[in-house]
Symmetry: C3
Subunit: 153 residues, 3 copies
């Protein structure tokens, strides 16, 4: 897979979340996919806890739908700033890579704070000429994430 | 336009501002250009307010000159960290793209804080082999930007 | 040198530090190398102070070894998010470039804060097909960096 396709994929991933286009974000995934958010502390201690876990695309759809039902309007703005990709493995039709992220939230008064920083580990596939997400593991350095009603990271 | 030319353009855009080379920043624009800063809240509510607006290059020159007259020395440091580009449209000699930004300010005591996060929407042209800015719209998530004497975002 | 090799180099630079793989980070440098951290204030005032300075690879090795002896475990997490590269000079086997960085730290309670923002100025060489660091100058906007036991930036 070409590097630029992976960079585009992550740019769209971030913009879809930041613009509250959660349904578009889901469409970046394969039907058979895995999305999970874990804390770095748990990973390094070998603990199995996950903050969010969807192991197929229908679970992602359900999660976004539930979020829409609970939140009539989006009570904050998200903003992802993602760093350069670190390619772990690269083939013609598949790639594994990592990227660091910073995620800021802005409340209704317009105040911005750091919400979470961490790292993505992504497996991507080429499907019909477009890069798609096979798995996304978010390893969050920040441990203080309220997750019940949170948008994806 | 080649992708790398757009990335270079934004890298220089950010460095010029961060190094207080505001005159170099102006030179990245076409004579007929548009630079404006709006808040995301206003955009989403369809309100016409703008925080900063220059609709040609001479207005940008005037603004930088005024800033120089008022501020004998730069009372803070800016630092932009820009995320990957999301290409919206791309032709041989023109491109439209978006990118998220985080902008930090450091005061004279050396303390750093988040100043603004948001998104650029840029129209770029190829002129004499170099990428130039036709329009830049800054959509700031952060609503608490003091703008009277501010440097551009 | 190809652009993508430089971007990969900085992605690995940041990931090695953030994952506490300090020995891997050292291996990105040439034997004859220069790594230094200075504050922007000192640079702009022409002062010679440096916060950290290693002028060959053995000094980097020593520094990492000392750090390991003092810190039995890593008391915080680092997270670098690096912006797009600004190429200053580029040849077949060498390149000079700059990049802005934001560096976040997360403490043992999981709280994240801005630790430092600033700019890298990097000279890179092509050696045996891989990009290596000849010199890295970190110019930190943030002035309040405790350096005695700090990890590299």
């Amino acid at each position: 897979m070409e590097r630029v396709a992976l960079s585009d994929l992550m740019a769209e991933y971030a913009m879809a979340l930041d613009e509250d286009r959660l349904e578009d974000w889901v469409e970046l995934f394969e039907e058979e996919c895995d999305y999970r958010v874990v804390t770095r502390e748990n990973v390094e201690q070998g603990l199995p806890n996950v903050l969010m876990w969807c192991d197929n695309k229908n679970m992602l759809r359900d999660r976004v739908e539930s979020y829409r039902l609970v939140n009539e309007y989006n009570p904050h703005y998200d903003r992802h700033v993602i760093g350069p990709l670190r390619i772990v493995a690269q083939q013609d039709s598949a790639a594994t890579f990592e990227a660091s992220y910073s995620l800021f939230q802005t409340d209704l008064e317009g105040n911005t704070r750091i919400f979470s920083v961490g790292r993505y580990r992504v497996e991507a596939l080429l499907r019909d000429g477009a890069a798609r997400l096979k798995s996304v593991q978010v390893v969050a350095d920040t441990g203080t994430i309220p997750t019940l009603l949170a948008t994806p990271i």
